[in-house]
């Protein structure tokens, strides 16, 4: 009688099916609409004028245009290098959340911790920040969390990853823009550039024959990794006028023992002293290494890892420490 014979579906089933479809369409429309609304509201912000710092729109490392309405008073930093830059720019009082790995400056001990490798999104939201400084190096890990923060309306700025000093300056400027400390950022970058120039000048005193071969170890035996091309430490060694044993390899390279002995470094620098006991003694006691120049002349030094790997303002200190260890006559 009805369409039952034609369609093969009873009226009851048809009505329940259409009810479910309507419901799901309605839900999806609802969810879709809310995000659209947000985009509309944030893009209503003005472009920064010459005299006014806020609101400001910055294109971050993830390619997103992030708009910060006013000077942030509650900043959450997801990675120690961001924190160090913020403090150095003088906005440290506005930091309300840092990662578990933060250890500098001392003030961070009293600041709320929001997680280590994985950030605790709830904690971050509970701090009600008006700016979250993320980082390109762990953005893909925390992309879900970052998305959640954005959905709640918190501006998230992904600071660029840095493999060399130029990129560090860029990240300092980006954070400076975001926190309204443009002048401080410019000053900091200038200071860093001047200090490094000074070191490069002094390094010109290193003659060809005095040039030393340096082996940097970033992890203890038996998994010894050494920084090669496109790492800070490689750049630092070049600035100081030293040769990097791992200089031909890409990134963090694992070198086998034989090659290290053959390379016969003049100086060995370790950066794992802060979690390994007496790295210098460990290196000295390696069997088979007795005739390596660095061991014979006891040129083994430990430099704190944070100073040479954290892409922040203290890198200059790292360069100075390296320089002092390798060429004590020229730098002190």
């Amino acid at each position: 009688m009805f369409k039952k014979a034609k369609w093969g579906i009873s009226m009851k089933k048809l009505s329940s099916l259409s009810a479910v479809l309507l419901l799901s369409v309605g839900l999806m429309a609802g969810c879709g609409d809310s995000s659209k609304e947000e985009n509309v509201s944030t893009s209503k912000g003005n472009e920064p004028t010459a005299t006014q710092a806020f609101p400001v729109t910055i294109k971050d490392a993830a390619g997103e245009e992030v708009t910060i309405e006013k000077e942030p008073k509650k900043i959450v930093s997801l990675i120690p290098s961001n924190t160090e830059i913020v403090f150095e720019l003088g906005a440290g009082d506005n930091v309300v959340g840092v990662s578990d790995n933060d250890n500098y400056p001392k003030e961070v001990e009293n600041i709320e911790k929001i997680g280590g490798m994985e950030m605790n999104t709830e904690k971050v939201i509970s701090l009600e920040p008006d700016l979250v400084l993320a980082h390109a190096s762990n953005a893909h890990n925390g992309s879900e969390g970052i998305k959640q923060l954005k959905e709640v309306g918190i501006p998230v700025l992904v600071v660029n990853d840095s493999q060399n000093f130029e990129q560090v300056y860029k990240s300092i400027e980006m954070i400076g823009q975001a926190t309204g400390e443009n002048e401080a950022a410019e000053e900091l970058v200038q200071d860093m550039q001047e200090d490094l120039k000074e070191i490069e000048e002094k390094a010109k005193a290193v003659t060809e024959q005095d040039r030393k071969k340096v082996l940097i170890e970033v992890s203890p035996a038996p998994e010894i990794y050494s920084p090669g091309k496109n790492t800070f430490m490689n750049e630092m060694l070049q600035m100081i006028g030293a040769d990097n044993v791992a200089g031909d390899l890409e990134g963090w390279a694992k070198i086998d023992e034989e090659s290290m002995i053959e390379a016969n470094p003049d100086v060995i620098v370790t950066t794992y002293g802060y979690y390994t006991e007496d790295p210098v003694a460990q290196v000295k006691s390696r069997s088979g290494w007795e005739d390596v120049t660095a061991i014979k002349q006891e040129q083994i030094y430990d430099v704190h890892s944070d100073l040479v790997t954290r892409s922040g303002p203290r890198l200059v200190e790292g360069v100075e420490e390296l320089a002092e260890a390798i060429y004590p006559n020229i730098f002190n």
Partner: protein, 353 residues
């Protein structure tokens, strides 16, 4: 047809099998010592070996760097790889025979998990015992593995007085999972030590030195000799424990002996080199395919071939992307799996004729 009979006579000829196995081992050792990221000229190599190893009166003074590399880096590395490969292969063969399970390997009983927990805990907690110093890790690892063996056996006995093999395997799985959970926990909580821990777990024989050989040697000697004294009993137990008992085998005692000997071998091997997989599982199978399931020959041949195999695997691991190194466990599986597949295919095709 001629080919078939040659093959049969080859595989039945046991002395020839040993000659092949020993030559393979010697060949691997020679290749392993000669090749490395630093190319040592052959003449220098012979001079160094002649002088230091055989104490021959050679006038030439080889370069100290080469001597250091060969004597203190390459030679102990090759020997360690050989000992570890031998331990894992013979333990694997024994377990496969005892547990009557072709999928059994030295890690089935959870001993390797115990050893790993000991090692990972040492790295994670930064433990350093004053007397032992740098050797805290392997020694703690061995201690943990021994504790694990006894826990597994004790628990298995509690569960089932006769300690049927199914019970032992189940107990092994229980302990293995439980201990692995600890390792995962430490990995989740670790900060700086992650690379060290993962590196250790993937297995390696690099930067160990002669002292590690001293650690594994006693366990290797005692374990292998014990196992080789039990080959007759292993053969008998292949037919089932009741039959073995009727053949006059003291099943309970022999089972315990073999289990403990095999576990001690495994524990020591894992303690000095991390968890290198595949060797204990597949080498006995390969031997069995070529030379038959008689444990009297299976065990020693596994020992020799397993030894040579791991030396070659280590050679590949350190040469393929020299001067960088790959983890040896990756190489054992990459080479071993296709090789095993080839052997199975060849045998299968032969059997169909």
């Amino acid at each position: 047809m001629l080919k078939q009979s040659i093959r049969t006579s080859l595989t039945n000829n046991k002395p020839l099998a040993y000659i092949i196995a020993v030559s393979f081992l010697l060949f691997s050792m020679m290749v392993g010592i000669s090749i490395g990221s630093v190319s040592v000229p052959f003449l220098t190599l012979f001079q160094i070996l002649g002088k230091e190893v055989f104490h021959l009166p050679i006038a030439a003074q080889p370069d100290t760097m080469f001597t250091n590399i060969v004597m203190n880096i390459r030679l102990p590395r090759v020997l360690l790889a050989g000992l570890v490969g031998a331990s894992l292969a013979i333990a694997g063969a024994a377990f496969q025979g005892l547990l009557r399970n072709p999928l059994a390997d030295p890690y089935t009983l959870g001993v390797s998990s115990g050893a790993s927990v000991g090692a990972v805990a040492t790295i994670f907690l930064g433990i350093s015992i004053p007397v032992l110093g740098n050797f805290t890790l392997p020694i703690l690892s061995v201690v943990f593995s021994i504790i694990t063996i006894f826990c597994v056996l004790f628990f298995a006995k509690k569960m089932d007085r006769s300690m049927k093999v199914e019970t032992i395997i189940l107990t092994g799985i229980i302990f293995s999972s439980f201990l692995s959970a600890f390792i995962s926990l430490m990995i989740a909580l670790t900060g700086e030590e992650l690379r060290q821990i993962i590196g250790w777990l993937m297995g390696s024989v690099s930067m160990r030195g002669w002292s590690y050989i001293v650690i594994i040697l006693p366990f290797f000697v005692i374990g292998s000799l014990t196992l080789m004294m039990n080959t007759q009993e292993l053969n008998a137990m292949t037919f089932g424990e009741n039959r073995a008992k009727h053949l006059g085998v003291n099943v309970q005692r022999r089972k315990l002996t073999i289990l403990i000997a095999g576990s001690v071998l495994t524990g020591a091997a894992v303690a000095v080199s991390g968890t290198i997989g595949f060797v204990g599982l597949v080498i006995p199978h390969i031997i069995r395919q070529i030379w038959g399931p008689d444990h009297k020959h299976l065990l020693p041949l596994s020992l020799l071939i397993g030894s040579g195999f791991l030396i070659l695997a280590d050679l590949v691991a350190r040469m393929v992307i020299s001067p960088s190194e790959l983890p040896i466990g990756v190489i054992t599986s990459l080479i071993g799996a296709p090789a095993f597949a080839l052997i199975l295919l060849k045998r299968r095709r032969q059997g169909e004729r």
